[in-house]
Structure formats: C-alpha cells, structure tokens
C-alpha cells in the first residue's frame, strides 16, 4: 500500500476546498451502482412527474411523448421513484448478471 492515499496535493487543492466547476456531479456515473432498474408501465403512467421530483440523482427527464424516463448512466436503482409513484406504474426489475 502506498504511504499516501491522497488524490490531491495541499498546494493544488482548490481554494477553501471549494468546487469551482458547477454541476460536476454529472461526471460521476452512479449508474454503475445499480442492482435493479425502474421500468415504467405506460398504460398506468399519468405523466404526473412524481418520479422526476423525487429522484435523488436527477436521473429522470421527459421524453417527446411526455413520459418520464430514467437515464441509466445515473440511475442507481434506489427505487424511490417506484415507491412514490401514485399509480404504481414503476416496477423495480433486477439487473441481469
């Protein structure tokens, strides 16, 4: 093991440890963490957007038809959207492999 596990030097760390690049959380692909994915039943979906509101990773966006779709690069499979959906339109399905 290296004698230092630092990923940044004290001379190169940002001033005050600020994050100077806005929205850089987008660089972190939390989709890798996922063990189950949300699947929306368009028959039941009323396009209310509750999944979009509650998603902690802002993974949801609206498609051309007005349905809300999770971006699998960021969806970490937490299941909050399925839990909050007022029409039980979202089901969590195990990822394969």
């Amino acid at each position: 093991m290296a004698n230092s596990d630092a990923i940044v030097g004290w001379k190169t760390i940002t001033f005050g440890c600020h994050i100077l690049e806005p929205g850089n959380a987008a660089n972190f692909r939390t989709g890798d963490w996922r063990s189950q994915r949300p699947v929306t039943d368009k028959e039941k979906c009323i396009k209310c957007g509750m999944c979009w509101v509650y998603c902690p990773d802002m993974a949801y966006s609206q498609d051309e038809e007005g349905y809300f779709v999770a971006n699998m690069e960021y969806c970490k499979g937490c299941g909050i959207c399925a839990h909050e959906c007022p029409k039980d339109a979202i089901t969590m399905v195990p990822e394969e492999g």
């Binding site: 630092a6 004290w10 001033f15 005050g16 440890c17 100077l20 806005p22």
Partner: protein, 392 residues
C-alpha cells in the same frame, strides 16, 4: 482630523466597525460584549451605518449567518463572549478552512461553572485551534486599531481567513479612556472594499463546503495551516501600512525594558499594562526584570518571540486560563514547546493568575518574579503554579 475623545472602549470598537463600513452584523448579546453590539444596532437603526444588523436567536445562528454573509461577499462582523462563544464552536471551524474572511471581537470572559461574567482568557483558549487569526489588545486604543487591522488582514486576498480580536471583558470593554478615533478618509485609505477571491453568486455558481473524503481532508487542513503560516507576512505588512497612515506601530511581540533582563514576564492582553508598571517598580529596585507582551497569538510569532528573549535566563509566563489536568497553562505550553531543546534556552515557569475577574496587581507580578527567581536557583525541571490561590 482624527479626534481624541473620552469614550467607553466597547463604544469605540463599535465606532471602528462603523468606520470599517461593515455590511452585515449578525449578533447575539452576552455580557460583557453587550455594549459593542448594542451600539452597532443603534448605529444601524439611526441610519448612521448602512448595514444589515441581524438580531439572531443564538450565537450558533450568529456564526452561521456570518458564514453565509461572508460567502456572499459582504464585510462581516460579530462579537461574543464565554459560553456564547462556545455555542458558536461547532461553526467556528468552518469559515476558517473554507477561507471566509470575517471579524469577531471577543470580550474575554471566564467559563462557567461556577457562573462568572468576569474576565479571564478561558473562553478563547477553548477556541485556540479553530484556525482563526487571533490578536490580543492591551488597551482601548489597541482594541480600535486591531479591529481595523483585522478587517484589512482577513480580507487580504493572500490571507482570506477569519480573525478574532480579543479584548479583556470589563477590564477593557467597560472602561472609559482616551481613544483617538480615526478619520473616515484614512480608514477608507487603509481598508479597500472587500473583494473576495470567490463568492456565492448565482451567475457563476460554485460549491462551498463539500465533503472532504479521507483522500482529501488532510490536504485541505494542511492548506489551511499553510495559509495561517503565510498570513503572518500580511499581518506584519498591514501593521506597517497602519503605522504609515495612523502613526501607531504594532508588532507581534512587544518588548518592554528587556535590555540586560535576566527574568522576563510574558503576558497577553490588558494585564500587560499593569505588568509594565510592575517592571518599572522592580527596575527602580535594581532588579533585572523585563516584559514580553504577545499581541499575535495565532499564527504564533515563533521567530519574533525567540528573538525577543535575548539573553534572559528565566521566563515567567502568565496564563489567564487553568486547563484542569494539563501540564501547564496554554501559553506556557506553547512557549515550552517552542524553546524545547534549543541550546541556551531560558527556564520556563508557568503561572496561572487572574481567573474569573480576580485582579492581577503590581504586587502579584512582583510575587511571580520573586517565585521565578527562587525556583531558578533551585534548578527544578519546571514550575507550574496558580498564583494567589487560597488553601483554607
């Protein structure tokens, strides 16, 4: 023209904060700091000072507000004492590593229990390691001058750190004495508008105060420590500039009659004045006694202090704080570690005096010097004693 007036030190500090054009003042009143913030709230209410005075619900809220205010780029001031300062404690570490400039005057007071509203340095020694620059004032003029100096240094883009000016509660805060209040024009010359390196601005968003994972935290703290060490240069530079404009020169360590002195008293704060009078009296008796007054406590002026010792054989360090179970008083401990194993270093004796408003008189300083002299002859390893304590 600046004017010399008889004024209560607290009121003069508030006037200095006004002359500094503070923009946001979140504060909660506590004895003996109260007159400072009361007067500031009057100045704001009367339209004499264009600032937001935020009467918060606690000191914890006061310091939280200060962080937000400084992060948004406003010149920020607050003041507290004792238990109030301790209630801020959770927040105090935050603006320092986050490099948010602000100025706080602490009217130093004892920590309860037993309940004491009187003066000593226990409240600020609790906060020794919060990573703020800290100075100690000896008199009312210094309290005013150091307050202006604090804004100048804290907001210097090379420094960008929060700053505490310590003034002894009651002993300074409640005394009326002659103070030269500077001109607005001169203060404006000394203290340019606050231009922070970074601020919270929706047009240019950044994140302040993110998580510091183990792979980052040490480096963030070392960067802060290095900023403190580097700050000394700018603290001294600002004192030079202050002297040019206002004619009063300050140093991180002041020597008084140290030439050929064998025993040096070491003090911080307003007891330094009484100590000077005591040194005069002992010199009149033919004793080779001098005095070192520490004005800059953090960052500690190591070089300056070592130089100021000269050829003294004994240092009698007077602490106004009793840390139960410790090796000795905090200032004593600092100086012992500074001089450890340096060839020819003097013996360092640590005394605790003046707790909870007990007067530190000329007679007490003489007693301290006598004890130091006696113990130096006996060659003990160390001496640590609470002075003037009654046993039965």
């Amino acid at each position: 023209m600046s004017k010399r007036v008889g004024i209560e030190v607290s009121i003069a500090i508030a006037e200095a904060v006004g002359l500094a054009r503070a923009e946001v003042i979140p504060a909660y009143p506590i004895t003996p700091q109260t007159h400072i913030v009361e007067h500031l709230s009057e100045m704001v209410a009367n339209g004499e000072l264009d600032a937001e005075f935020i009467p918060v619900e606690s000191e914890h809220a006061a310091m939280s507000c200060c962080c937000g205010s400084s992060a948004a780029g406003a010149r920020t001031f607050t003041s507290s004492s004792a238990q109030g300062l301790s209630l801020m404690s959770e927040i105090l570490y935050i603006p320092s590593t986050m490099r948010l400039p602000m100025v706080m005057v602490v009217a130093n007071r004892a920590m309860s229990a037993p309940i004491s509203i009187w003066n000593d340095h226990q409240d600020i020694m609790v906060q020794r390691d919060i990573g703020w620059i800290q100075t100690f004032a000896e008199n009312g003029q210094e309290a005013v001058d150091l307050t202006l100096h604090a804004f100048r240094v804290a907001e210097d883009r090379n420094v960008s750190l929060p700053f505490i000016v310590n003034i002894d509660g009651f002993t300074l805060s409640h005394v009326i004495e002659p103070i030269e209040l500077p001109d607005q024009e001169d203060v404006d010359k000394f203290l340019p508008p606050f231009k922070p390196r970074y601020k919270l601005d929706p047009r240019r968003p950044i994140t302040m105060g993110p998580v510091g994972i183990p792979e980052v935290y040490t480096e963030a703290k070392v960067a802060h420590d290095m900023a403190m060490r580097k700050a000394k240069r700018y603290i001294l530079k600002a004192w030079d500039e202050f002297a040019e404009i206002f004619g009063r020169k300050y140093n991180p360590v002041e020597s008084y009659r140290t030439e050929d002195a064998e025993i040096l008293l070491v003090t911080m704060g307003s007891i330094s004045e009484t100590a000077m009078t005591a040194v005069d009296a002992m010199r009149d008796d033919g004793q080779k006694v001098g005095l070192l007054r520490i004005r800059l406590w953090r960052p500690f002026p190591s070089q300056e202090f070592r130089k100021a010792i000269g050829k003294a054989k004994v240092l009698a360090v007077v602490d106004r704080c009793l840390p139960p179970g410790a090796v000795c008083g905090p200032v004593g401990a600092e100086i012992r570690s500074l001089l450890y194993k340096i060839p020819g270093a003097p013996k360092i004796f640590s005394f605790v005096a003046g707790l909870g408003g007990r007067d530190v008189t000329v007679a007490r300083f003489k007693e301290i010097v006598d004890k130091a002299r006696q113990f130096a002859k006996k060659r003990p390893r160390e001496l640590y004693e609470v002075i003037g304590v009654r046993e039965k």
